[in-house]
Symmetry: C2
Subunit: 474 residues, 2 copies
Amino acid sequence: MTPEEFRQAGYAVVDWIADYWSTLGQRPVTSQDPPGAVAAALPAGPPAHGEPVEAVLADLDTLVTPRLTHWQHPGFFGYFPANTSGPSVLGDLVSAGLGVQGMLWATGPACTELETVLLDWLADLLGLPARMRSSATGGGVIQDSASSATLVATLVAVHRASGGRWREAGVDRRYRAYTSTQGHSSIEKAARIGGLGAEGVRLVDVDPDTQAMSPAALRTAVEADLAAGVVPAIVVATVGTTSTTAVDPLPEIGAICAEYGIFLHVDAAYAGAAAVCPELRAGHAGLEYADSYCFDPHKWLLTGFDCDAFWVADRGELIEALTVLPEYLRNAATESGAVIDYRDWQVPLGRRFRALKLWFVLRWYGVEGLRAHIRSGVALAAGFADRVRADDRFELVAPHPYALVCFRLRGDDATNEALLERVNASGRVLLTHTRVRGRHTLRLAVGSPQTTQAHVDEAWELLSHAADELTAGR
Amino acid sequence: MTPEEFRQAGYAVVDWIADYWSTLGQRPVTSQDPPGAVAAALPAGPPAHGEPVEAVLADLDTLVTPRLTHWQHPGFFGYFPANTSGPSVLGDLVSAGLGVQGMLWATGPACTELETVLLDWLADLLGLPARMRSSATGGGVIQDSASSATLVATLVAVHRASGGRWREAGVDRRYRAYTSTQGHSSIEKAARIGGLGAEGVRLVDVDPDTQAMSPAALRTAVEADLAAGVVPAIVVATVGTTSTTAVDPLPEIGAICAEYGIFLHVDAAYAGAAAVCPELRAGHAGLEYADSYCFDPHKWLLTGFDCDAFWVADRGELIEALTVLPEYLRNAATESGAVIDYRDWQVPLGRRFRALKLWFVLRWYGVEGLRAHIRSGVALAAGFADRVRADDRFELVAPHPYALVCFRLRGDDATNEALLERVNASGRVLLTHTRVRGRHTLRLAVGSPQTTQAHVDEAWELLSHAADELTAGR
């Protein structure tokens, strides 16, 4: 494809996306087709000879988009949001066009330096501790996801726990990782990948009302393990759990980690974005104890997946844990020690120029634009929670400090399952569920920049109407 | 950014990329600026209020592109290529615009099914063993990189070696991973991440002439370990090593793995792409022994990073090793067992719709177009090797079965280092180096779709001229 062919086809694809976004609100949020519909519609193999881009776009319309869950839909209230935005898409487009490989400073100097600077900007924007800046002992890096950030943190923690012997000798199965019963599944997965196994993970009890980790229970678990001769290596505390956005109390947890020399990783994958607003920064109190921290601009900060922002307080320890330097990657810049080689900050070797999409987003929206986006989500969620609170048929089941509301019909689990199914079957909205204190709970997470008061109202009306029907049918 | 604002800005970015590609050949391949030039030119923080996209594009021109290593440059002969192409960029653009999260079938049915089908297409195209198809016991998945594929293979291998106890009990430090002394650094890194440590990795000797793993040395290592009471868990064989594109003999290695029940992963990150040409498939002989296999369409198959294609022969074993299923991800489709949830095939939870770029590439080029691209690279490299062979000042130091030529000036390492430095300083080409049999060796890897005979000729002339100068100066 020549540059001129790309230019013409590129306009067509840009048009296709603009049209998709313009019509998104009219589409069903989810596909109603059974498994296998797409596979069955595809040919048995690729064509022998090339086809024009228009043919692929036509198949996108007939085969692909009708069988998607539309994450950018204004009625998408499921899971956590995975926002994107025009400027993010354009930044990613530039990255794809440049096709630069940022594994080493030498293989893409601007790719590395822009990332370092932008992560410093973001650290300022979120009010992160000073030592996480690249000008101090730490620094930030873009990971694909919070899962990978947790894995990297776990590896650095076992490296530290081993006194540096882990690189050579392997992992000691006596190391333990702690998180609350509400910690993300990626914490268990990271421990498994790192060789600790499920037996190496301690799920610490939470306060039943707040769903936040109990510092007393953490202390008890740590002391029991020490008494049993095993080694507390890492605590993963969460600011904004996936189930209910509970906030673990970092001041108390951090003090326990400091007392026992345990690595503290703070997972703020979803809620960290809120800290761009000074009034929504309370969950970060105590963050000065953290050895590492991450949040996902790709969840709630208008930056397309994949963009997890991960900081460490001590980059030397991180690099020591993960570095490998084969002959074919040796270069003068690396050996000077004056540069960052981000391959040593992550699991894979290769890396895209992901800082570009963050740059486009930060510049297009500006700080105030980002704050307006967060505040809009929080306000819409608060308004929804007010309606739940005002309706005797429903109950709120957890605090809603950000833009997720957890609620249920007063009644049994089966009724709540039926409610969720009925509302989602409308095709107008998607909500998902969790269990809180053992009971089936609905989750409504606001996040799309396309979501307005009218969409939240529609969600409430669908819920209210379905609740009427279910109550009448009982 | 509204859809209409996106449309206008999108055209401008498409134009920017088309212009970049049109002028690429006139730019220096690498930046000549010292570390810190980009960071110093950036402001202290993001703007308070938004800026237009044009402002960012202007900064791209002044700050970013002059400080890049241009991986798509026709004079880029370094490392391995990391090709992209117009259709790949467009497929990625659609993916960014859709903003779909493919962690579960339910969160993006078409995202999952298109990926499964395309990996089956690719398996046919490369002539992979039947059991790696999704219609059999196996199947394919897109990983970000071969590093991650190796890590996943290592985890499945230790899971198998443990009789399934690894998930709960953690890793046993008696497990051993084997690769040749020429295996990629990601193999050691995967073993480290998985908790085996460097002591868990056996670097098996190679044949000095071919640089391929010696099956006799592998057998000796395995038998010595068994006698010592440790457990051979995985062999990683390479088709096309990073240093010289050596091909490990899979028939003999596979037979040893089968004899001792060792998991066999085949890393064909670079060279696998060549197998789209039937005449370049010799390295795959013996692949029927493999438990898993990967290659990178993002290296030499016109598909932008990140796109590693990874197959397993037994998907049940893979899923068992990596699955986690918290309540908030439970859904009817997953519980039916009728769908693939790719989160269980990889380290992170989230995933982009990467199959789109592969789909655009396969359809735009067609099978014959892909073959023509590979054959062009092989022919250009062979022509370059002929010139090296015909010039008494130079020597070839390894076979060149694909599109990488390893060569050196007859003389000492310092002269070869000076040669490389001098040629790269021209800004017209980038070559990188390795060590073969302990000696400094230059590598010229052809791969960019923009690279023509004229560019290879220019590289040769720069080398020949610099060799004259160095010889005269001696």
